[in-house]
């Protein structure tokens, strides 16, 4: 199955350093938080894109191979630390599993690609940007544990849900970036 990306970049057949040179350039037209899919055939691009992303502060999400083509997913900047979280009802990663098994639902508001490369088994994916239009998929009577990568997007999502009349909403901190439990994939 294909993973949703905001921008796609064709680097098939290109040898190093071109995949990175083109990716760097393409990133200029990607908005913060959006996902870039880089299609490449050079095997060296896996390690290099990951190392490059880390060094410039983009979030390397993962790579999958499809018909001999490597599909790399990178989220621009992805650095949403140091933003003050406003939503008050929070729990920690460690507390989450106990609480969620008592009839609650885990709502993962990261982008589809991030969810695809690793999420908590049984969690529901609604990317932050789609939340407003997909509220009817959620049950107001159910406890909703909102999680993202670092707690920032989930904070905004929790606020949004509260605004829309959801009362049993909890933000999970710090989020998937420090999740130690098992991860499910959907590739």
């Amino acid at each position: 199955m294909s993973i949703k990306a905001d921008v796609q970049l064709d680097c098939k057949g290109l040898a190093c350093p071109m995949p990175i040179v083109k990716t760097k350039k393409a990133m200029n037209d990607v908005e913060d938080g959006q996902i870039l899919e880089v299609q490449a055939t050079d095997k060296g691009s896996i390690a290099d894109l990951k190392a490059w992303s880390d060094s410039v502060g983009h979030q390397y999400i993962g790579t999958k191979e499809e018909d001999g083509v490597l599909l790399h997913y990178i989220r621009k900047s992805g650095d949403d630390h140091n933003v003050e979280q406003k939503y008050e009802n929070t729990i920690t990663n460690e507390e989450l599993i106990d609480r969620a098994t008592n009839g609650g639902i885990i709502l993962d508001v990261r982008e589809e690609a991030e969810y695809a490369f690793g999420h908590i088994e049984g969690s529901k994916s609604i990317p932050m940007g789609e939340l407003e239009n997909r509220l009817e998929e959620l049950d107001k009577d159910q406890e909703i544990f909102v999680i993202c990568r670092t707690g920032t997007r989930s904070d905004l999502a929790a606020q949004k849900l509260a605004e829309k009349g959801f009362t049993k909403v909890v933000n999970v901190l710090p989020g998937m970036s420090s999740w130690n439990g098992d991860l499910a994939k959907k590739l």
């Binding site: 040898a15 190093c16 350093p17 990175i20 760097k24 290099d48 190392a51 490059w52």
Partner: protein, 375 residues
């Protein structure tokens, strides 16, 4: 200023002659930390090419002007890009043709010494990967031991020396590099020998390399004799050539000994390794010159670039031959082993003939150092 191409052969010369060289390695840091071009007088700076996309101004002051500067990457492309930027900033600079890929493939043939009646022993030093192959030449005939996969290097060398390759041996089923033995034998009509205990799963025909087997090379009948010496693998076999050289395969190196774990049976084979190193080899003449199938560090290279040392000297100096307690020996060779070689399980499959990857895939499998030893 100008950009000049440097070949792997030229880098090899600089290494062997202990010349200075400044290497600007632009691969990512993990790759560099794992494996680089080693040299006695080489200096290094590792900055990934992707950190230099906006310019090289910051690193220019770090590049010396009194020695050659060589830019190195995995395959060449990125080093050319960075070299162009360095040249634009007004410096003369070299790039490594073919990158680490060609460094990993390069073989330097060096004569180790003379054999009876004009025979010669050659060592093929694969500097980038630490693999050592051998050719015994005597009056029109040749035997090859532990050939790496670049078969033309051996067949061309034989042509140059006007000798016919008659016997091709592998001391064991290799796990760190792909053997060229079988293909050389197919191309030349030579006999290919492999220890049967390592060959239970191979899918091609071979001649069993048994303990005590002796072949004669050339009119002067230089003797190549097999000595069963298990421990790195269950089939590992050494050779004594012309009563002068002891080819130890991956059992004994200059500054280390073989590891017993690459076929997944460390606990079973540690006793064999002990037996070979502390009993079988002890019964041999100490003046034999040990020629191993690998070196791990460039300090193991002699002045002329060969890797060779008297057996008696190794008994005195090699730590792995001087562990008195069996218990301690067992710990040394089974605990805290270095990481296993890249793709070693796949490489074993290739050497058994079970899979046949293309050249590109073989190159990928062999990336990185050989890691066959325990120090």
């Amino acid at each position: 200023m100008t950009i000049i191409k440097m070949t792997a052969a030229q880098v090899a010369r600089k290494l062997i002659e202990k010349q200075p060289l400044f290497i600007l390695d632009v691969r990512n840091t993990d790759a560099y930390d794992d494996w680089k071009i080693e040299g006695h007088n080489f200096e290094y700076l590792n900055i990934p090419y992707f950190d230099l996309l906006d310019g090289v101004e910051e690193i220019i002051p770090k590049l010396p002007t009194d020695k050659d500067v060589l830019v190195v990457c995995a395959k060449e492309g990125s080093s050319v890009m960075v070299a162009e930027m360095v040249a634009e900033a007004g410096r003369d600079v070299f790039y490594l043709e073919g990158g680490m890929k060609s460094w990993s493939s390069y073989l330097e043939p060096i004569k180790v010494g003379d054999l009876t009646d004009g025979g010669e022993m050659y060592q093929f030093v694969r500097l980038g990967k630490g693999c050592l192959s051998y050719m015994v030449i005597s009056e029109g005939e040749a035997a090859i031991i532990d050939a790496v996969r670049f078969t033309e290097v051996f067949t061309n060398f034989a042509k140059e020396k006007n000798v016919e390759i008659k016997h091709v041996f592998d001391t064991h089923l290799h796990a760190d590099h792909i053997s060229g033995g079988r293909h050389i034998a197919e191309a030349t009509g030579a006999t290919y020998y492999l220890p049967p205990k390592d060959a239970e799963e191979v899918v091609f025909d071979y001649t069993p390399l048994e303990d005590g087997l002796t072949v004669k090379v050339g009119a002067s009948q230089i003797e190549v004799g097999a000595l069963y010496s298990p421990g790195h693998t269950i089939g590992s076999t050494s050779f004594i050539v012309d009563s002068k050289y002891l080819l130890t395969g991956d059992i004994l190196f200059i500054d280390s000994i073989g590891r017993p774990d690459l076929a997944g049976l460390a606990e079973d084979w540690v006793g064999d390794l002990r037996e070979t190193l502390y009993r079988r080899y002890r019964e041999l003449v100490e003046d034999l010159i040990v020629l191993p199938a690998h070196f791990m560090i460039i300090e193991e290279l002699n002045e002329d670039g060969t890797v060779a040392k008297r057996l008696g000297d190794l008994f005195a100096e090699n730590h792995g031959l001087n562990i008195e307690s069996e218990e301690e020996f067992r710990h040394t060779v089974t605990d805290n082993l270095p990481p296993q070689p890249n793709a070693y399980q796949q490489i074993r499959q290739v050497n058994m003939g079970k899979i046949t990857p293309d050249n590109e895939e073989q190159t990928e499998m062999e990336i990185g150092p050989n890691r066959c030893a325990v120090r």
